[in-house]
C-alpha cells in the first residue's frame, strides 16, 4: 500500500502544477514582472528625475530638491495646463456618463437591427485610437472640414464664416472634448449595459405597478441601482482623461496658444520633445495625487459592492 502511494507521487512539471505553493507564484509571476518593469520602474525613475537636473544630452545627474517643482509651478503654461486638465477630464466625463446612460437604456431594449447599432457604437473603441483621431483631424480640418461644408450647404454659415475647429481656443477645447467623449463612450456604454441587465426584471415591473412614470422610474429606481457600476465607469473614464493625450497630441498638440494643453501632453512636450527630462517628470508627478484620489475611490467602490 505505501509502495503504491510512493509511486503515485507526481514528479516534475505535474508536481509543480499540483502544488498550490508553487503554482500560485508561477502564475502571478509574469504579471508582477510586467508591472514592476513597465509601471514600477518608470515610476521610480520619474520620482528620481523630478528631484534631479537630468536632461537629454547630459550624462551626469545631480539632485536639486524641489527646484523643478518650484520652477514649473510658477509658469502660466503649467497653470493653464492644470486648469485644462480638469476642464477636459470633468467635462468629458460628465458628458460620457449622461450619454452612456441614455445609450445603454436605448440599447437594452429589443428592436430590429440592434446588433448593427451596437456594433457601430462599439467601433470607436475597437478602432486604433490614433487612426480614429487622424480621421477626425480631416473632418475638423480648417480648409476641407466636412462639417463646415455641410453647415454651409444647409445655409447655417457663409463661406466667410467657416469655423476653425482646431484653431480657435474655445472651439479647439470643445473639439478635443467631443472627440474624447466619442472615444470613451463605447466602453462606458458597455459597462452600463452590463449594470442594467443585472437589475432583476421584477424590479422594473414593480416600479411600473407602483405607478412610477418614466422620470421617477429612471432617477429613483434604475439610476440608484446602477450607481456602483456607474462609478466604476466614471473612474475608469477619469483615469483615461487624466493620463491619455493621444487625442490632444494628434488634433492640436496643445495649441492654439496652449489652450488645450493638459498635464500629460505638457509633460511629454517638456520632457521628451523639449529634452528637459527633470521638469517633464515634475509635471507628470502632479498627476500622481489626482490618480491616487481616483484609485482610492475605486477601492472604496469595490469594497462597498463586495459587502452588499
Amino acid at each position: 500500500m505505501s509502495d503504491r502511494l510512493a509511486t503515485a507521487r507526481p514528479r516534475g512539471l505535474s508536481f509543480v502544477v499540483d502544488s498550490p505553493r508553487w503554482l500560485g507564484p508561477l502564475m502571478i509571476g509574469p504579471a508582477v514582472l510586467y508591472i514592476v518593469l513597465v509601471v514600477g520602474l518608470p515610476f521610480v525613475l520619474a520620482i528620481l528625475y523630478a528631484f534631479s537636473d537630468v536632461s537629454m544630452g547630459h550624462r551626469t545627474l545631480e539632485f536639486v530638491g524641489f527646484r523643478n517643482f518650484a520652477s514649473v509651478l510658477g509658469t502660466p503654461k503649467f497653470q493653464t495646463a492644470l486648469k485644462n486638465t480638469f476642464v477636459f477630464a470633468v467635462t468629458s466625463q460628465v458628458l460620457v456618463m449622461v450619454l452612456a446612460t441614455v445609450l445603454a437604456l436605448a440599447l437594452i431594449r429589443d428592436f430590429h437591427g440592434k446588433w448593427l447599432v451596437r456594433l457601430l457604437i462599439l467601433l470607436p473603441w475597437v478602432a486604433p485610437i490614433s487612426l480614429g483621431t487622424i480621421g477626425w483631424l480631416w473632418i475638423l480640418d480648417s480648409t476641407y472640414s466636412v462639417i463646415n461644408w455641410t453647415l454651409e450647404a444647409l445655409g447655417l454659415i457663409t463661406n466667410e464664416g467657416w469655423l476653425m475647429w482646431l484653431g480657435v481656443p474655445h472651439l479647439a477645447m470643445a473639439s478635443v472634448i467631443v472627440i474624447h467623449v466619442w472615444r470613451i463612450l463605447p466602453l462606458a456604454t458597455v459597462i452600463l449595459i452590463a449594470g442594467l441587465t443585472s437589475i432583476p426584471h421584477d424590479i422594473h415591473d414593480a416600479a411600473q405597478m407602483d405607478g412610477a412614470g418614466f422620470w421617477r422610474h429612471l432617477f429613483q429606481v434604475t439610476v440608484p441601482l446602477i450607481r456602483p457600476i456607474m462609478l466604476v465607469a466614471g473612474l475608469f473614464g477619469l483615469v483615461f482623461a487624466f493620463t491619455d493625450m493621444i487625442v490632444i497630441f494628434v488634433l492640436t498638440r496643445g495649441g492654439p496658444y496652449d489652450t488645450t494643453q493638459v498635464l500629460a501632453s505638457l509633460a511629454f512636450f517638456t520632457g521628451i520633445q523639449g529634452g528637459d527630462l527633470a521638469e517633464g517628470a515634475a509635471v507628470a508627478l502632479f498627476l500622481f495625487p489626482l490618480l491616487v484620489a481616483v484609485a482610492v475611490g475605486f477601492l472604496r467602490v469595490a469594497r462597498r459592492t463586495e459587502v452588499t
Partner: protein, 322 residues
C-alpha cells in the same frame, strides 16, 4: 378563456409551470398585452390602460423590493408615485406597517430582512395604496416549508380583513386548496376547471384536473368503454369498510409498501376487473390491516367515489355501473 372573479373573492390560478398562469396575471396587471380579448376591472375595459391606471397592486415571487431603499421608502414609493399629499403619506405607511407588524423594520434595507419579513414588506407596499385588485405571483415559494404554513395563515387572515379581490398564482396545490375561495385549474393556457376547492378535488372536470390535484394523484384505470378514476384514500382494504355504502370490490396484488407515519402508501397491480392496472392506495394510520408486499388482498372503493371519464375527450361523464 373566460374567467370572472367575484367581489372580495380569493381566486387561485393553479397549474403546472408553463401553463400560462403567470402570463395571465401579468396581462391583468398590464405588464403584458393580450393578443386578443378584453380584460375588465370593475366593469371597465382596461386593455389600453397602463398598469398604474388600473388600481392594481402586485406582489412578485421575488418580492421585487427596491434594494437601495429602506422599508419605509419602499412602502412610500407607490404613494409618492400616485402624487399623494406629503402630509398624508406617514399616516398611510403607519397603517400598512401596523397591518403586517413591521413597524420596527421601517429603517432597514431589504437585504437586512428575513424572507418572511420581506414578504410582509412586499404586501405592505402593495396594500398601502388600497388597490381594487390584488395580484400575488407565488409569494410563498421563496419561504422555507415551516414559514410557509404560518405565512399562508397570515395571508388569508389579512385578505379576509381587507376584503379586496385577490388573484393568486401558484403551482402548489396545498396553497391553492388552503387559501382559495375558488380555484381555476389551468393547463396549456386554458382553464380546465373553475370551482371551490371541494368541487375541483371531489368532482374533477377532466382527467387532467383529477391527476393534477391530490398527492398522490387519482388512480385512473381503463375500462372497455371509459376511464375510471378513484382517489388513493378511497381505495382501502375491504375489511376497513364497515358496510353501509355499496362497495366495488377489487383484488390487489401488492408490489410495495411505503410507511410514511400518518399514512401507508400501498403500490400494487389490480387483478380481476381492470386486470394489470397499476394503482396506489393510501391507508391512514387508523386502518391497521396488515399489508405485505408480494401478497394479494381484497380492496374496495365506495361506488360513489368512482369517477368516470370519456376516453376520447378525457372529460367527465355520467356515473355508470362497473
Amino acid at each position: 378563456m373566460d374567467l370572472a372573479t367575484q367581489e372580495g373573492e380569493f381566486l387561485v390560478l393553479l397549474g403546472p409551470s408553463g401553463c400560462g398562469k403567470t402570463t395571465l396575471l401579468r396581462m391583468i396587471a398590464g405588464l403584458e398585452e393580450p393578443t386578443s380579448g378584453t380584460i375588465l376591472i370593475g366593469g371597465q375595459v382596461v386593455n389600453d390602460l397602463p398598469p398604474r391606471a388600473r388600481k392594481i397592486a402586485m406582489v412578485f415571487q421575488s418580492y421585487a423590493l427596491y434594494p437601495h431603499m429602506t422599508v419605509l421608502k419602499n412602502i412610500a414609493f407607490p404613494l409618492k408615485a400616485q402624487g399623494l399629499r406629503r402630509e398624508e403619506i406617514p399616516k398611510k405607511i403607519e397603517w400598512a406597517a401596523a397591518l403586517f407588524g413591521i413597524g420596527h423594520l421601517l429603517g432597514r434595507k431589504p437585504r437586512q430582512l428575513s424572507g418572511g419579513e420581506r414578504q410582509r414588506v412586499a404586501l405592505a407596499r402593495a396594500v398601502v395604496r388600497e388597490p381594487a385588485v390584488f395580484l400575488l405571483d407565488e409569494p410563498l415559494s421563496n419561504l422555507d416549508a415551516k414559514l410557509r404554513a404560518s405565512a399562508r395563515d397570515e395571508l388569508q387572515q389579512f385578505q379576509r380583513r381587507i376584503g379586496t379581490t385577490t388573484i393568486y398564482v401558484t403551482h402548489d396545490q396545498i396553497e391553492a386548496m388552503g387559501l382559495g375561495d375558488r380555484i381555476a385549474v389551468m393547463q396549456g393556457g386554458r382553464v380546465r376547471q373553475l370551482g371551490t376547492p371541494v368541487e375541483v378535488y371531489a368532482e374533477p372536470a377532466d382527467t387532467f384536473v383529477a391527476s393534477f390535484l391530490g398527492s398522490p394523484p387519482m388512480n385512473i384505470v381503463e375500462a372497455p368503454d371509459c376511464l375510471v378514476g378513484f382517489r388513493p384514500e378511497h381505495f382501502l382494504p375491504r375489511d376497513a369498510y364497515d358496510g353501509g355504502a355499496s362497495l366495488i370490490a377489487l383484488g390487489l396484488r401488492v408490489t410495495r409498501v411505503e410507511y410514511l407515519g400518518a399514512d401507508r402508501l400501498v403500490y400494487g397491480v389490480l387483478e380481476g376487473k381492470f386486470q394489470g392496472a397499476k394503482v396506489l392506495a393510501r391507508l391512514p394510520s387508523t386502518v391497521t390491516t396488515p399489508v405485505q408486499a408480494g401478497r394479494r388482498y381484497d380492496f374496495a372503493v365506495p361506488e360513489k367515489e368512482m369517477k368516470f371519464f370519456d376516453p376520447g375527450t378525457r372529460l367527465r361523464t355520467a356515473a355508470r355501473s362497473v
